[in-house]
């Protein structure tokens, strides 16, 4: 197994854990944590690909930086949404929040 | 313009921070004002308010100036002072008059009529001055009324008023028992303030300590006065 494959497998493990958690978790914050895991996997995958192949190293790092920026923005927004949901429903658990259903 | 004002205000408040630093910095550089206690002690305890103690007569430091007027007893908010007139004092015209208030003073101290006490307070506090209080044959004019009133009420007897004045003229009353329940005393100082003959003062005893509650529930101030008169004045005196 090449180093690249090892790194990609680690990233894949993060993705799988994140997806699993997204389905498994019932609270909004738990889901946010799972999403962060997935984003980390993506970042790791991109940087590994950039560093270990002939691809542009700088480009890979920049892409991952942008992913981090997105993660920060996403966390901010989710925090605000959780705040609103808690205000309206009294808790942050997805099971009881039906109002978005069409 | 308003903007400029607010900027000036902020600058001023910022400057106050610097001033604060300067104040504390100045204090840091100044000499220390504390005393390394166990090795050195402060020279003067004048401002210290310890328990109340009796003041001796100028001629005879072992005998208190107290004239047993009972003002301190009646004005004490905690009812923690007990004064009894000495039995062997030159007898007043009616021995019962002297004995009766003394006997009832203790019992009565706990149950003083509040309206009466207020009067005593009000009547006494105004004319009181710190100087010129050498015990004259007659108490100061302002002290006359309450001094007469308080024991009268305390005794609950009419004849006391009659026996009061001759007692002062003929033979000054001296206390036989002067005890202070320091466990109740709140150190309010009212007794010191009302005393017409300045027989009470704050002690500067900072080492007051004892092993039991009883040591302070009935402090014999007369004995302490005598002890002080006998011994050279020291500050390291400990409760019995």
């Amino acid at each position: 197994m090449t180093p690249l494959q090892l790194y990609q497998l680690a990233a894949l493990a993060l993705l799988a854990l994140g997806l699993f958690g997204l389905v498994w978790r019932r609270s909004l914050v738990g889901m946010l944590i799972s999403v962060e895991l997935m984003l980390n996997g993506a970042g790791l995958s991109i940087v590994a690909a950039g560093q270990l192949t002939a691809a542009d190293n700088a480009l890979a790092q920049l892409a991952t930086l942008l992913v981090m920026g997105l993660a920060a923005a996403e966390a901010t927004l989710v925090l605000a949404i959780v705040l609103v949901v808690v205000k309206r429903f009294g808790h942050g658990e997805s099971q009881d929040i039906f109002e978005l259903r069409g | 313009m308003q903007c400029l004002d607010s900027v000036r205000k902020q600058a001023k408040s910022l400057w106050s921070l610097v001033v604060g630093l300067r104040v504390t910095g100045d204090n840091m550089l100044r000499p220390q004002i504390t005393v390394h206690y166990p090795r050195r002690t402060v020279e003067s305890l004048e401002g210290y308010r310890g328990h109340v103690q009796l003041v001796g007569k100028p001629g005879d430091p072992a005998e208190p100036r107290c004239i047993c007027c009972m003002m301190c007893v009646n004005s004490c908010p905690s009812a923690c002072i007990t004064v009894q007139v000495k039995e062997e004092a030159p007898p007043p015209p009616d021995p019962a008059a002297a004995a009766a208030p003394a006997a009832t003073a203790k019992a009565d101290a706990g149950a003083t009529d509040w309206s009466e006490r207020a009067q005593v307070h009000g009547g006494r506090l105004i004319p009181k001055t710190r100087d010129g209080q050498v015990p004259p044959p007659e108490p100061p004019a302002g002290a006359d009324k309450p001094a007469g009133k308080a024991p009268a009420k305390a005794a609950g007897k009419g004849e006391d008023k009659a026996g009061d004045k001759p007692a002062k003229k003929a033979a000054k009353k001296a206390p036989g028992v002067w005890s202070l329940d320091f466990t109740l005393c709140s150190l309010c100082g009212t007794c010191v303030a009302v005393c017409p003959v300045d027989s009470l003062e704050y002690s500067s005893n900072v080492y007051l300590a004892g092993r039991s509650r009883e040591a302070f529930s009935g402090m014999d101030l007369l004995a302490r006065l005598r002890a002080r008169a006998g011994a050279a004045p020291t500050s390291g005196e400990v409760a019995e």
Binding site: - | L17, V23, T24, Q32, H36
Partner: protein
Amino acid sequence: MNLHTLAKSLGVALPLVQMVVGLVALAAFVGLNAVLLVWMERKVAGHFQRRPGPYEVGPWGLLQTVADAVKLVAKQLFTPPGGDRTLFWTAPFTAFLPVFVMLLPLPWSHTLTAFPVNLGLLLILAFAGLNVLALCLAGWGSNNKWALIGAARAVAQSVAYEIPLLLAVLAVVFLTGTLDLGLIVACQGDMPWEWLGASQPLAFVIYVVCAVAETNRAPFDLPEAESELTAGFHTEYSGMGFGLFFLAEYANMIVVSAVATTLFLGGWKGPVLPGPWWFLLKVYALIFLIMWFRWTYPRTRFDQLLNLAWKWLIPLALVNLLATAVLVELA
């Protein structure tokens, strides 16, 4: 023994040996320094209040802190019932261990650096954020409302003050064009007017204010405000659990002062004396300043604290950054 020969005889890379030696030296320094700083704090506090401070144990009370440390070590470690045991005991280590990492890239002199990293400043800033996490875990694991309120305050405070701190540091990075602490020092001269603090006074002031807030020192010590929250996030800690937080606080003071020295006060540069002494002198002078603040200013109210950060420090730092960028571009 030369480090090169040591590395060769062990058969490991030189940087590794360097790092281990550096870590051991730093551990010793942190321990010794905590003892010294606690003593210094008490002495300083005493003198500001015109009393002598500790003077009974050892010469000038120097052993007082050692006695205290012995007392702390001897105390029972208690975990509050109903708290999260694992997190409760993770927190002190989370507070204490990153400090070593933060001390690694500091340049003590021309040649003396535990672990020279070209991204040293970034390393320090990154690990400084761990302190908040430690406070959160401590507050949460304690199962105590005061501790939790302290943790919540710590979060809000550190989020607010990290921004102006980073912006102030960025202004220096703009001027020097590097994140390597050694190179940043090399950009400055021996004399005070050649230091970056002279060309970036606003950034320096902002940095100092934010550093006081980030280390939770008075007047910004709201996470552990004893008059309101008992002891804030470390209310429930006994013995060395509290001791580690204590050590971390003083080590953090060293780190922020050392970074300020490096960035704004010319690091180890100075006339006459050799480098490390200048560095230590400047660091301790800054620490003295922080202690001076503590005994001068009353604790701020929480809304004042946040208003100061969001309404004053961040805009000021942004303006400063912009001006610096323009200047760098023009020059």
